[in-house]
Amino acid sequence: MGYILQMKNIVKRFGECYALNGVDLYVAKGETVAIIGPSGSGKSTLLRCVNRLEKVTSGEIIINGQTLVYTDKNGHAIYPKDKQVRQICAETGMVFQHFNLFNHMTCLQNICYAPIKVKRENKDKAIERARELLKLVGLPEKENAYPAQLSGGQKQRIAIARGLAMNPSIMLFDEPTSALDPEITGEVLNVMRNLAKSKITMLVVTHEMGFAREVADRVIFMDQGRIAEQGAPEEIFNNPKSERLQNFLKSILKI
């Protein structure tokens, strides 16, 4: 079946530390996958390997049929030329915990920049599309505002629009609400909920168990650089098999 993302036996080592230790992950088109797990279990590293913010130590990643990296007989990870890597990674849209909006650009410019400069889209069309995206995330009136003039929740919604503007085949979210005050996480989660409904493929690292339970098609529990358990949300949350997951869920619910 058509997988948007295939990750095979991914190993990522930082010095002596194995951040990822043999991860296999397949994401189907239209699927929403939530990744949960304790701090330091390798969730961010996994996402960052998908769009080459980190280079894998070994393993294979295929994004929408294009090979981003494979491992040769000698165990070396082989990436194509930088230009091709960038083109493959542009198939993924990344949303960061700390937004990382371009501070010197207005919201509209933030959204249009990559489509115009990287994809060489027609400028008027890109602007038109950016306005649609601003509507989609509920901020049409912020077109000319600078990031510094927005609240955290608004910044994150603009960041989502910026990611969507490249028409990626998969959206990656790394704890998109962790830097936000609890009372404004809702506006961001709402936008993501709508994306999931419109069958945009998403890989979401999150501490929002309610969101994972409600929106995800599949939940992955990571521990010590491996996928320790995965399944439908009901299974994971109502019927956790491994002791680690049980402990993790207990510790989360206590907070």
């Binding site: 990559a114 990031p147 003039q149 490249m166």
Partner: protein
């Protein structure tokens, strides 16, 4: 009383007498200042980019250049070029041109270091966001990083500009007739320190104007930081 008035009038006359020479000196000072700034501000950028380059030969060349020019006295560099260029390279340049060349090379090194620090102070998240959108390294530098660096380097750059105004006085050592040299001429000739006071006033006016300009620029470039960073 009459004595006092007549002494004021005569000192006015004296000022009127020495002013043309001082203003001519000021011309050299301002010209040297403007040329140095105009050339060294852009020249600092390639050296800054070179000093953070991943290509080590370029990195070493740029770092060495910055180290040499920041690590030795400007006065020494001035003497060096004044004697080195004619003797070793057989080019004859007037002392003003020599001064401009030395100052540009010296100040470009300082600006390069300021730019480097500014570029490296931009949050890594900006690089990562650009990368995740498929933006090339070069484009990221010129479209995303450098525009945000301008605001951060403005205060140290204007600081250097003010230092430069005062450094111009050094070139009298190789015979350029700038403001301080003109003033010293008048003081030695007339045994009267008025010329120094006027020179000081002129330097103060120049640095004051610079302060105003830099303040205006800082305001202009912080328009996108309505609520700070």
């Amino acid at each position: 009383m009459a004595d006092f008035i007549s002494s004021i009038i005569s000192s006015f006359d004296y000022i009127k007498e020495i002013l043309p020479a001082l203003l001519e000196g000021t011309q050299f000072t301002v010209k040297l200042f403007a040329l140095t700034l105009l050339l060294s501000i852009p020249l600092g950028l390639p050296f800054a980019l070179g000093s953070i380059s991943k290509f080590w030969p370029i990195k070493i060349i740029c770092k060495t250049y910055i180290w040499l020019f920041r690590g030795t006295p400007l006065m020494l560099q001035l003497f060096f070029f004044y004697f080195f260029l004619p003797i070793a390279m057989d080019v004859r340049l007037d002392s003003f041109t020599t001064a401009v060349i030395t100052f540009v090379l010296n100040y470009a090194a300082y600006f390069a270091e300021i730019y480097r620090a500014g570029i490296e102070s931009i949050d890594r998240g900006q690089h990562e966001a650009a990368r995740s959108l498929g933006v090339s390294k070069t484009r990221t530098m010129f479209d995303i990083i450098l525009p945000q660096t301008i605001k951060r380097v403005l205060p140290p750059v204007s600081n250097e500009a003010i230092t430069l105004v005062k450094d111009t006085a050094l070139v009298s050592a190789i015979g350029v007739g700038e403001l301080l040299k003109a003033a010293r001429g008048a003081v030695n000739r007339d045994v009267n320190v008025t010329a120094y006071a006027i020179a000081a006033a002129i330097y103060l006016v120049l640095t004051f104007v610079l302060t105003l300009i830099s303040r205006w620029l800082e305001k202009h470039f912080s328009k996108y930081e309505a609520r700070g960073d």
